[in-house]
Symmetry: D2
Subunit: 459 residues, 4 copies
């Protein structure tokens, strides 16, 4: 339950090549990635003449698309995007894919991730005459690709690879030109991107859960620093960077991904369940029942229950019908006890000592509310366990300058524990996860400001 | 997963008296009852002058209401309804609450249940000059109440109680007149209805989960055959029938209700979990993992897992963003493997012997699809267990003229078992559940036809 | 420009029998009657099995219907309605056609007009057990038709004719049963209704303008007191009343109808133009230009211009894009000069003495605003001429207790004149128009109150 | 009635500076310019901190904006645009204003007109690395302004003026930066743009009709080649070009503008009426009535009627409720006589010799349909008069290689006449109108192709 955080801009990208009804399949693909972003979405399709058409809008895929719109997107290839609702906003202008009209051929792109040197790159490009129409860092890649028109006679992939090399940060990109689709991951391997086969064609997706939905077969994950080209000749792989690391963002396992997705060979549900088991090993609580905060923390709670022998119970229910058009209760009503999203279950909680499993503490506000809610519903003790380890870096975060004991008091728990990084690595059976969001050690420089960019004035 | 059945018309009713923003609270109450009906919904509010205003429409509460519409419903009392999508349809005309304009005072009503003598009553009323504007059996009550204008000088509750006495079947009704709210349950106790306190006022709901959402406190369930009157003098109880039985519909526990609701003192999640435990006792399968069909069967699967010691796994994922505006995949796409609603998780299922827990078999079509899906995703064995006991009555149902072995072959399972009625009673710690949907023994005559009504020609 | 009046509830009805795509043609028919009502609209269609389906909603026909909804209305007969926005409101519940479900066969009806003894009839019906679901007087007819179930073995038209005989007031009704369409006018001939031929079928419409739109041929107007039956045997005429009068509402010619419609043989544009000519004869003003208030008064202004030799000018422009979703300017903006609907044209008005032609004065508020607007745009004199004669009856109307001189001062005109009733009769070449709205002499009792109905307690 | 032509891309622009509720006033301004474009519209508003926010969408202003969206556009300045539906399409991407995000300050622009050297300019810019996100020629100006980042320390207006000088064609632009609004017309004076005063601020509009709607006072038209700067210091004028001509597009008077607008001192209605008078002088027809094709040709028909002494009649009625959501009748229904948009009035036309006044013939298809419609409604003769002069240039146009006699036969008229250019000049009391659309002599090169641009490869 980390929705009060915006350190991440997580989105979902999807691409499909070489099958009829490409836009329709993209619709179903994006639908299965909807949990990665509900603010807006879009699809660009290309027909046999290389004409790119786009539909995009604010809202869920079921809100943005209807039959008529989907039918207007013709052709056997398409790319799509679901966008996470961030505080930065930007509204419709920032909804992807971005679509560019160029005399050398139109192209479109969609991006999941954060470009950390975006301010510098943007200034560099604007100083050369580039003009941006969004506040999204994803638009930068397009301008980088087209920045040097003398490169137009080179093979097309060269400027694309050069552009990738200029980006610092976390990304998974899909790019569609009139004749090709390109897919690439950052060289640190921070964001997931998988490749599948569908009929005689190919599919690329942020998560593998989309593969089973569209009837595709998983081939492999893209490699860090790899760019895959798909066209009528089939599939080709290239590396735009010598550097390579597998620092998959731990939050993908912990929070963002759907439990039925596999990330680099590890199933998300299985990962979470393992963290739950290890939470019990590291911090066994003397309690009666185990409760997970839905939806992300249910798997971990099951794992804790299995390891501890305590019953796993649905002590918190999440209302699944909350969408864009939901009318938020006023402060007055919330003060009077109107609860949204999460409801505690008195008949389950009453008189019980509860182990509460959640993914991560951020500012602690949400955790405090949940603990209070459980106590009001009759829980006699609440032991809070985060399988998303300790966050010890950011000033704005609860634990920034507090000990665990201080944090425990703040959220009002009877005990508080965080999973150790080692256990987290063990859960994934890999020691190379990026824990930057938790411990502040990034494989790449994170917050880059326009001030810095202006200071040196060059890229 | 019984959505291919329509033997039940399950809906949700909600009423609130004596608090400001009554319509707004009704919105949140209906929102928490949304799982009971997604076809349409409506709210009628009454202001201090007894003026009743209504907003209703097709779709979810978040689709039908916006801020402006909600603000137009003024006053400190309201009733609301969410309607289940049934094959009968009827569209907007059948969406409740029904609102009647009468010189003795306008009134509105909302109903959950089935009136089994509706054809007879309808003919009886039409023969007296009544005119119906919907195909819903719920409209009958209103005509019954007003059928005899000589009764206008009696206390208002008399004709209402007489009307309830003429109804055979399952019902929970809320009625709002200019000065009062009435709430009543059928004398068999087939449908749930609970009473709560909120501020200085009262709230009535099909399920108790709505109470915690709106900040109300549970008082008690209404009794079978009881009618509760709420007005400025407070609350009064009366019995419209001497007869009383507690034959709560087993499907309320098994399928319809939200796990955080308590029905007549028994928590739904706890009930389901107990059925899961007993399923294992009655039919232990030699398997590797336990998988529940989301959402209704997750609790039972947990219970089975706990009892068996087998791990409970998320082998099936349900897409939670499917709503009214979702574009269903064409048959062609479905044949090519496009899956909606349920996705199997290959990395969990592959090579595993699976115990699949579901609520009830109906025609078997859905069960066969799910079993096939699990096998395609790598399950080596699939043992299907229904905690919703055997269905042995209806011709249209799979098991009607088949042995369990025939049924097993039809759905393609390695083994098939149904929970015994005794175990179901034990799960609820009560022996008075109505199993009519399963065994065909009804506390009240069920299917009544217009032919019969015409034959004897009178009520 | 009489929109600040609500003495009339003018609507449009349409019916079609015996042609494919009946609902689609009804859509186009209603579209051409849209000027008669913009609050809401609906269509009921019947298929070959006599199944009646309805779509209705608030808004214009282009807002309520889309391709999918229209396609769902199958069959070769249909009736439709457009509803005028009245202060009474009632929202969706009052939008017609009304649709009734009955064991003797479903039926639907749509109505244009006012039933003046509605309060009495309603009480009479409610005292017999009838239950109303709208506040519309149109619903009464249905209950009257079905009030006596002993009549079920009589030919179907008998109860319908009896019901018409109980109604006092102005009406044009279309009724669709499973096998027939009935159309009828009140015995005073107050509301128009015309009959046409289309292919092998028939069409009925409030105005003839709909005939040319759907490709139908005008046959004749229905007679006062006539009911026409259309079924597979063709067309039959009957009289439900001996009494007959041709007191067509003058407002139909003056304000409501589209200029291309013919009412009882007289074209509306031609009528209005003639009134304009006679306005000049009766009240010649010494002026420079003639300006009509759009849209209804343009024809009369042309007539005045022709007769006077003065140029007809577009001194006022009406914005045609104002619809249901238009955001009304705040009072603050209106005070600052934001004008909607009507814009004066300075370059035409400046320095000119203007003859302003309008249809009718009601409370005078609108007229005062228009005169002020013309002066601010440079008009040196404004001579106001109403071709809708003097209104001298209602207290709430400007002229109620005022002389014409007082009225002139109130609206700020340099001169004020009303067309004489004789001239109005001459314009229509008929002396039998109903001027009740203007002079208070009704062919039927107009405002009937619930008090009166209660006093005598019977019909 | 020239909607079957697309030689023009006519739109409407609006800007407002220095008053509260700027976006709201822009809404009303655009609403009064709605006749200039119904495909889409947008508003960009700037608050006191220079933050630019945009709402845009497909459809009418009443469809794109609601109260919440309008309220989100804060600040005391704004620009807006309504877009004409052209065959080129482009959908949402081409809807203006365009909004650019730049480190030197965000800016937005809106454009009415055609840039004839757009292909060359676009190639020139793309060769320098510019990246376009629409197919609209209006986007070019923004890239021209920002193409040379070395100019950033010059006064801001310099690059804007340089950019205007590179554009060939017809334009009226409004540009909003964080601190200023710029407005400019092309040096030929082909497109109108007027300046007004509102409170302590200013307003700029394609047509003066918007001034009276928002309560503004007309100051003057912008001069050809002039750019006006509005900021907190007030208003300043500059000339970006020495060259100046007043070649106002004749179509603005003939077809595009609202009759209550004044263009360079000449009222549109008065202009059209004068053309009608001169049509009679040049081509007097022996007829009974004069009929104009609504809406644009009504004024000219009135002029013809006045000059000829023949009565002006409403022989054709246009349905005003046709909008974006109108369901077009199928070919089958149209073949069966279903008529949209225009209805002939039989009772007016029957037995009459008709003079039909229309604005311009293009391919003749529409004219032939209207003539046929009039004859079917009983007209004995139809004499067609176009006040939009002869079109003699384009191959695709009817008259291209045909004599007037051939054209007459094609459209089926009894006689056919075109107003002479001299008479058109006389009607406007000016001899400098651009008749390019009619005679092919353009003040600026018109159709420029990408081939040509590619051939010489440079600007």
């Amino acid at each position: 339950m980390i929705q009060d955080s915006n350190i991440h801009e997580e989105c979902g990208v999807f691409a499909i090549w070489g099958v009829p009804n490409a836009a329709e399949l993209t619709y179903y693909g994006l639908h299965s990635l909807q949990h990665r972003g509900q603010e807006g979405c879009g699809i660009v399709a290309a027909d046999d003449y290389g004409r790119l058409e786009r539909i995009k809008g604010l809202g869920l895929v079921t809100e943005v698309f209807d039959n008529a719109k989907l039918a207007s997107l013709k052709g056997n290839r398409a790319i799509g995007h679901v966008r996470y609702s961030t505080s930065g906003g930007g509204g419709l202008d920032n909804v992807q894919p971005f679509l560019f009209r160029h005399n050398s051929g139109d192209f479109a792109l969609a991006h999941n991730g954060n470009i950390v040197n975006s301010a510098k790159l943007r200034k560099y490009l604007e100083d050369r005459g580039s003009l941006f129409q969004s506040t999204s860092d994803s638009e930068i890649l397009a301008h980088l690709i087209k920045k040097d028109p003398t490169e137009r006679h080179l093979p097309r992939i060269i400027p694309i690879m050069e552009a990738f090399n200029m980006l610092e940060g976390a990304f998974a990109f899909v790019i569609m030109t009139q004749r090709r689709i390109y897919a690439a991951r950052d060289k640190y391997g921070l964001r997931p991107l998988s490749l599948g086969r569908i009929g005689d064609g190919y599919v690329v997706s942020s998560e593998t859960c989309a593969f089973s939905v569209v009837g595709a077969e998983y081939i492999r994950d893209l490699e860090p620093g790899e760019v895959v080209t798909i066209d009528r000749h089939g599939i080709r792989s290239a590396r735009y960077s010598e550097y390579q690391r597998h620092a998959m963002c731990a939050m993908e396992y912990i929070y963002f991904s759907r439990p039925d997705s596999d990330i680099e060979g590890v199933n998300v549900h299985a990962f979470r369940k393992a963290t739950g088991r290890m939470l019990f090993e590291e911090a066994p609580a003397d309690a009666d029942i185990v409760v997970g905060v839905p939806d992300s923390s249910l798997s971990a709670a099951m794992g804790y229950a299995e390891a501890s022998g305590l019953p796993y119970e649905m002590g918190l229910i999440k209302n699944k019908y909350i969408g864009r058009t939901f009318i938020q209760p006023s402060q007055e009503l919330r003060d009077k006890g109107v609860k949204m999203k999460l409801s505690p279950v008195r008949s389950i909680l009453e008189g019980k000592r509860v182990v509460l499993i959640d993914d991560s503490i951020v500012r602690g506000t949400t955790s405090r509310k949940i603990v209070t809610m459980l106590r009001e519903a009759g829980a006699t003790e609440v032991h809070v366990c985060f399988y998303g380890v300790d966050i010890s870096t950011y000033e704005e975060l609860l634990c920034a300058h507090k000990s665990i004991e201080e944090a425990r008091k703040t959220i009002g728990a009877d005990s508080l524990s965080f999973l150790s990084p080692d256990a987290l690595f063990k859960a994934g059976n890999r020691s190379d996860l990026c824990l930057a969001c938790f411990c502040g050690t990034y494989p790449t420089e994170l917050y880059d400001s326009i001030e810095n960019a202006n200071k040196d004035g060059k890229f």
